[in-house]
Symmetry: C2
Subunit: 354 residues, 2 copies
């Protein structure tokens, strides 16, 4: 059975401003010293399992050139351009329908483009298990991450009975508060929802038909036009008509017969600037320093330099990011508030900085 991969690359990565911009979001940036971008790493680690011609990138129309430039091995026709953002359900339906037109019984991996994986062999072994479970006929499989602490920023998967290599999913739950998250960990029955899914094209299409019929029909019409001169026109017409919906809410929380496979492969969702010191080497004072920097008596500080010198003197627990037109100086306790900067910029119509 053919295995295809769908990489979702439509995100804006606002929390990585000022490096991440509308014109070049997080997944197209390198946040590691090796210079590889997030999406390049995502594709590279998949290649032992999936051929280049079976890798599909769903992204905003504005980013198709960036994708083509960063992923030359992926066929141009596999770059699926969303005319507008409609969250993950329409995105996945779009890709599933297109893949299904080529090969209806393919198993498809659905993966974010901007996460990091520390243990790639274990990651691949986990995905292979998921593919096998699907091939054996199970409906929908999600990769759960075995929690290492009581994170309140992720959704959780409550699993039940063991079934071969997987566990039956009891329910998906939204981001918990800290006491609840601690209960989840103590129970030993909750995994982090990583947003990685594996299923047969036929399975996800069947669920879409039942739970999101409009998206199902629209996706089929797009797929029918795929490769014809009606494609762009149909895509814009159908896609803009979709209502915005996440795959978790639209399908996973409503569907039955869902399975999860626990994964433990050094997954990092690279959710904020705090991730940079986690995923890179730091110096003796626990600073991560990149670029032209003079640091004097500074500790636990992340500095991402640009073209100019950055001098950090006696500072602690800061994120300092320099670009040609903007500098961010942010307390590590406030990395989520970087979004507020973008909100203010938009409010004042300063879109060149967003």
């Amino acid at each position: 059975m053919k295995t295809a991969a769908v990489i979702m690359a439509g995100g804006r990565g606002e929390r990585f401003w000022p490096k991440s911009r509308n014109s070049r979001p997080k997944q197209f940036l390198s946040l590691t010293s090796d210079g590889e971008t997030m999406i390049q790493k995502t594709v590279k680690r998949l290649r032992p399992l999936v051929d280049a011609e079976d890798i599909y990138i769903v992204t905003n129309a504005a980013y198709t050139d960036l994708v083509a430039e960063q992923l030359p091995d992926v066929p141009k026709e596999n770059i699926l351009a969303e005319p507008c953002a409609r969250n993950t359900a329409p995105c996945i339906a779009f890709a599933a329908a297109v893949i299904g037109k080529k090969c209806e019984d393919a198993v498809m991996l659905v993966l974010p483009s901007d996460h990091l994986i520390g243990y790639e062999d274990i990651y691949l072994r986990t995905l292979k298990k998921a593919v096998k479970v699907c091939e054996e006929g199970q409906n929908l499989v999600t990769i759960g991450i075995t929690p290492t602490y009581a994170e309140t920023g992720y959704g959780y998967i409550n699993f039940g009975k063991e079934s071969g290599d997987a566990y039956e999913v009891e329910r998906f739950v939204e981001k918990p508060d800290l006491p609840t998250a601690k209960k989840y960990l103590a129970s030993g029955k909750y995994l982090w929802n990583s947003g990685m899914f594996v299923w047969k094209v036929s399975s996800i299409m069947a669920n879409l038909r039942k739970l999101m019929p409009d998206v199902y029909e629209g996706a089929l019409r797009i797929a029918d036009s795929y490769g014809t001169d009606k494609y762009t026109e149909t895509l814009v017409k159908e896609y803009t008509a979709f209502t915005s919906e996440s795959i978790d809410f639209g399908i996973m929380e409503k569907a039955s017969d869902i399975y999860t496979i626990p994964g433990s492969f050094g997954w990092d969702d690279v959710g904020s600037w705090l991730a940079v010191e986690r995923i890179n080497e730091t110096d003796d004072n626990k600073n991560y320093i990149d670029g032209d920097v003079i640091s004097i008596d500074s500790e636990r500080t992340t500095i991402c330099g640009g073209r100019r010198l950055i001098a950090a003197v006696g500072v602690e627990d800061l994120i300092i990011v320099d670009t040609d037109d903007a500098v961010l100086v942010c307390s590590k306790n406030n990395t989520q508030d970087v979004k507020k900067v973008i909100a203010q910029l938009k409010e004042h119509g300063r879109n060149e900085l967003v």
Copy 2:
């Protein structure tokens, strides 16, 4: 009797890096929102007491154009260019000799170019008193500042018996440690040494002849050549031969018959970036913000912007200064260590940034 003013403008202002550079030190910068530079303020506040043609600027030869540009009212021939830095004693001797050649019984005010005065009327009244004391024949007069707290970064003047508008100086003392500074304040007999002096040209020349004969002789030879075609040659020859010495150590700590007049006129030596929030208005969160800045939940932070946007998110007690080629992010507890940045830059031969 004529009153002349000598403004010492040869300093480098290293603690105001990155705004202050070798090519444009602190005294030629504006650190207040009105846009006036420090030296412009210094001259402006003096004008009610001293005519423009009696104001002399002693500065490094590299800065004569800056002085002429910023102080168009001061006659070009009053800009005295030091061929090299030799501290304040040779600087004052040079000016005294030149002024003495024109008018031997002038009273001269010696003033730094990079301090701020909050109460200019009181300041002028204090200087007038000092001039009067000198005209009445006293030897050397120094303006002491009535301390408002136990500062350890200034030298102190220990005064004794009252004498007319002044007090006899017992001794000058170097920067004390904190317990000592507290004792000084408790005694009620110590003033801050502001580096402002008033004396007759004839008095300071007499003291130089006695205590620093080489400098005295050299300064006279420079003055003799002043206005002739031998001036530059003589100046370079004599000035480079001077040994570096402060007026405090070379004269004040050794001379007798010294008087001090206590001043209390909102004096600020603008000694580090910390001064900026003292001398400017701050917002409700005690931030001083200048330039294109977005501040979110930041407190007690000084931000001097340049051409780019600076976003400060959740930071406290920082100094952030942006220029075209360097950014400083400094803890308020470490403002003195800005000099260490310059030391490292010099060490690596990066003089374009110094």
